[in-house]
Subunit: 202 residues, 2 copies
Amino acid sequence: MDGGRKAVDEMTAVRTARPSARERLLAAADELFYREGVHVVGIDRVIEHAGVAKASLYNTFGSKDELIRAYLEGRHAATEKRLTDGLVAYATPREKILGIFEIQGARFLNPESRGCPFISATAEAMPGAASLAAADAYRVWVRGLFADLAREAGATDPEALAQQLHIVYDGIAVKMRMDGDPAGDLAAGRAMAAMLLDAALA
Amino acid sequence: MDGGRKAVDEMTAVRTARPSARERLLAAADELFYREGVHVVGIDRVIEHAGVAKASLYNTFGSKDELIRAYLEGRHAATEKRLTDGLVAYATPREKILGIFEIQGARFLNPESRGCPFISATAEAMPGAASLAAADAYRVWVRGLFADLAREAGATDPEALAQQLHIVYDGIAVKMRMDGDPAGDLAAGRAMAAMLLDAALA
DNA sequence: GCTCCCACAGACAGGTCTGTCTAGTGTTGG
DNA sequence: CCAACACTAGACAGACCTGTCTGTGGGAGC
């Protein structure tokens, strides 16, 4: 929409000096929205944490809803990069599928983890909220990743296998957050994924 | 806690005339909190929908947080009753376990369903919130139900089986809410539960 | 009858919410 | 030098938030 045609020199100059208002806002939103929740954290706390004027937020994003969308899109992009980068270390499609649980599970093991940001942000979303569209895009991508790997692994019904793996993926995200034994839950989820793979590739 | 020792005459008299303020508040909270979310719905909307004075709410529950706890405890009690009543129709422990998915899945198939109220209400809960304790009690009960049935079914490791079943239970609750194919997700979850049972009872 | 108690209606306090607006500052490119 | 631009600080509007308080009315028990 705006600023797309700027000279590269200017952008790098600004960036080396200090992160732009947009970047600081996104960093603050990412931290606060994830830690405390998109409904609990108000605009004032975000701009205070970012060290940014309120007008800059509304010039850049237009509304809180759009800031939430940008926050979730950032989470989506980071997860996509983390997984695509991490999965190259695994050789076979089967190992890559288990690697997804390994990589994402490690995140949820962090004591700072508050579970899946898409599940949380959409838990109380109103029907037309931007968070719903962002969460949908994320989930379509995850489902596609499972399905692609299931196909490469030679599953007879890759879509069905992906659906089952996605259920386990959601289940451990919730259970690791809510109950007191994230490591045990993750191990149980991994075992289930392996069992599903064995059954689907037999 | 209170009112348990009241004369039956008085209670029935009140009940036939009109539900008490407490009952109307709980009914309104149940509807609004579940449909729109405990953070989105304010006290004013609850009391307006219940047709109750604000002072009655604070005399009865003391705070919004305690009203949320009462709302979740009501959900817990209703689910417990629904399952214990519904499961008598199933003969074997194995069928009862699958019956849990049948009974609860049918609820999530309702277009009005917004998924698991405990997952949603705790998604943005602050550390000491009453919703966390209520959700914990509910989840301990669910886990215990799975474990008891797994033990009766003769599973070698009933706790491990219960943990896996609980992951599937959470997974379908989330996936049925967020993606567009609740019936397919439920069928996939049922199939996974059956597979887990076959593996654990072999 | 009279008193107690539950529930009513609603004003009020003090704060927070999102979003708008004005005015000023500092840097950069021409 | 000057115009453009991104940004800052902060007042402001109008709504909503939780929670408290005052005063009223009606039914039940003594």
